[in-house]
Symmetry: C2
Subunit: 394 residues, 2 copies
């Protein structure tokens, strides 16, 4: 009567969402201020005032033009604004026809995977730790997701593990940096070594292996760190972006994919993704938000709160004896479970009304994710709970 | 390197879009006022002032709540508002958990098809004339689209033709009424007869055959006509809706699917579609527009211009000798090509800078679509062109 696999996916919650819902229920019992919810990666800094102003200005224009269909790939003027901004920032030569507006980064990834599919043997590599929904996007395209275990030392990339898993069926590898859930930024060195490996393997197999670069956290980097522009390091890179984090618009679902001119046969790769998007019902991203994004394209996020949060947590938790992965970007950090059991640690933490997400779902067993996009006052209130949790392991 | 079928779809334009683009170029040559563009189904009546007001009010609230993630299926308050409105209007018992917000009706259809897929033999019936993108949605789900030829007399449904094409692999039939491109509204009699056939065949094959009811034109009906509520006639009906036409928000891509409680095992059917939407990247439709739709749910479209346009065109064209299908709803009407060649007639019409879309792409060869969502002054200017075109056939 219906597809069993789809039904299973629609009937189960993600671990993150389960924990969040548990927190909401617990708040009703013990009081909201006594629940320390580090589960959800929802920006805690509101959208900049410029977003509101942009919408207000647009509302004064012709409603037929404002709310009318754009072409499938999006409004030409808005795509041009995005392309020019990207070109300025990267030194690349992006034009409007490299850009396709999407409802967030997810459809951009699904469409890219679908377009790159060859046959029932096609594979995509996922670098652990990774956003768990990637596996569903591969499933939607009938592509096999091959997990590369994490480099648990620095949470860069274990290239030997990548090489061992690349096959003639590998069409793409998803790169997410700054990374959810680790908060790590892949270094230029890491990316160059990966590029070198992918070039070697592409030549060996006689077809390009694409990097699908999922970068909604691109602008969220601290300590003056660099987020390298991947197409300048590896030509066959498709960029998938969302303004969810940088403009604090997660619910508005506005993003794009970009096929830069350095991609082999770039116009045809763009056309193939465009065709995939058409079949999937991902055409004409919401037009007003396309224009808002274009008007706000030069605005950089205010990182002060996230920056202070990660410092506060990193210093306190390392002081208590936690092993913390140093967070260089995004608004996440990871801690190690002292006994290697992340699920048990997440359960234990609940006793203290402390909600931290097991890493197993991200492909990083033994680690837990802490979202640092939270109220700084909650961090202060939560520190005794973190301390008490660690005491249990001593 | 990339999927050839997706590339083909992304490299070719729809016939409608080609004609529209031709019109834009021609306007630069002969002047905008001398091109009579009946190609595109884009509302010509602006969004009601209430939409602007709703957005302005929402902007005064907390931006974190306004632009934050909703659950995958959408904001609970907004879904409740939609459900209550639907229940009031239909007498059905719809609650918030029957509703899932989508980016327009297209994703709702794709997700429904994906959820209902059984195996590589699964089929969906398309009742000609139909929106051509349906075939791509079926393709995305690896489902075979089986076309049922039109009832060219009344453009209701040729039930004998439906029966001849139903097979044990038929999982669904897409019903689009008021219809694009014919402008016809399926009568209660038609729907009851179809329901009877589907019940018989469901029993015969031992599994339900679903109606996927694509109804963005639900509120666009003239002469006080009725658009029957399909689930009250046939229980296994999934409703796919969009505010594109009723609120003149086609670019904002806000809609929903609804699995009413009368559907067999309705909670699990909803869960299966929800799971499909998750894999396809169709989660959390744009949050601000969810709330706008909920705030404006009681507003009915202003049909006066569309109504007058269809009357003007119907009267004039029948007077010139055209065979016109009487348009009861939506903002389209169809005319017959006197020699049966719709493609040739569309080409001939270009000589008069008259842009009308061949019906072949809609599964209705021998007919052409006229969009009546146009400037009434353009209709007046275009009448001599229509007259001259018909003269060629006499």
């Amino acid at each position: 009567m219906y597809d069993k696999a789809m039904h299973a996916l629609g009937s189960t919650q993600s671990g993150i969402r389960e924990l969040f819902d548990y927190g909401q229920k617990q708040a009703a019992i013990v009081g909201k201020e006594n629940v320390y919810d580090y589960s959800i990666g929802n920006p805690s800094v509101p959208a900049p005032e410029a977003v509101k102003k942009a919408i207000q200005e647009l509302l004064e224009g012709d409603p037929l033009a404002l709310h009318g269909y754009s072409s499938a790939q999006g409004d030409g003027w808005a795509r041009k604004a995005i392309a020019e901004n990207l070109s300025r920032r990267t030194g690349d030569n992006i034009d409007a026809d490299c850009i396709y507006f999407t409802c967030g980064a997810a459809p951009a990834i699904v469409g890219s995977l679908r377009a790159l599919r060859q046959d029932e043997n096609t594979e995509v590599l996922l670098l652990a730790p990774f956003f768990p929904e990637y596996t569903m996007y591969a499933q939607a395209c009938n592509i096999k997701a091959v997990v590369v275990p994490p480099d648990t030392e620095n949470f860069q990339v274990d290239l030997a593990a990548v090489e061992a898993r690349i096959s003639p069926n590998t069409q793409a590898i998803i790169v997410n940096s700054p990374n959810n859930p680790s908060g790590v930024v892949y270094s230029r060195e890491t990316l160059e070594a990966m590029a070198s490996l992918l070039r070697k393997k592409s030549a060996e197999y006689g077809h390009p292996i694409f990097i699908i670069c999922d970068e909604p956290y691109r602008e969220l980097v601290y300590d003056g760190g660099e987020v390298p522009y991947v197409p300048a390091i590896y030509n066959n890179t498709i960029i998938c972006y969302s303004w969810s984090k940088s403009l604090s618009l997660p619910g508005e679902r506005i993003g794009y994919f970009c096929v830069p001119p350095c991609v082999d046969d770039s116009k045809n790769v763009y056309a193939a993704i465009k065709g995939a998007m058409r079949t999937l019902g991902h055409v004409c991203a919401p037009t007003m938000m396309q224009k808002v994004a274009a008007k706000c394209v030069d605005i950089m996020p205010d990182l002060r709160v996230y920056d202070q949060n990660r410092k506060t947590l990193y210093e306190a938790l390392t002081g208590y004896g936690y092993r913390c992965v140093y967070p260089q970007g995004a608004f996440y950090m990871m801690i190690g479970a002292p006994d290697g059991d992340d699920n048990a640690m997440s359960e234990r933490a609940k006793k203290y009304n402390l909600l931290i997400v097991p890493g197993t779902g991200f492909g990083a067993p033994g680690f837990l994710r802490i979202s640092t996009c939270v109220d700084p006052a909650m961090i202060q209130r939560s520190l005794p709970a973190f301390k008490a949790l660690m005491e249990e392991y001593k």
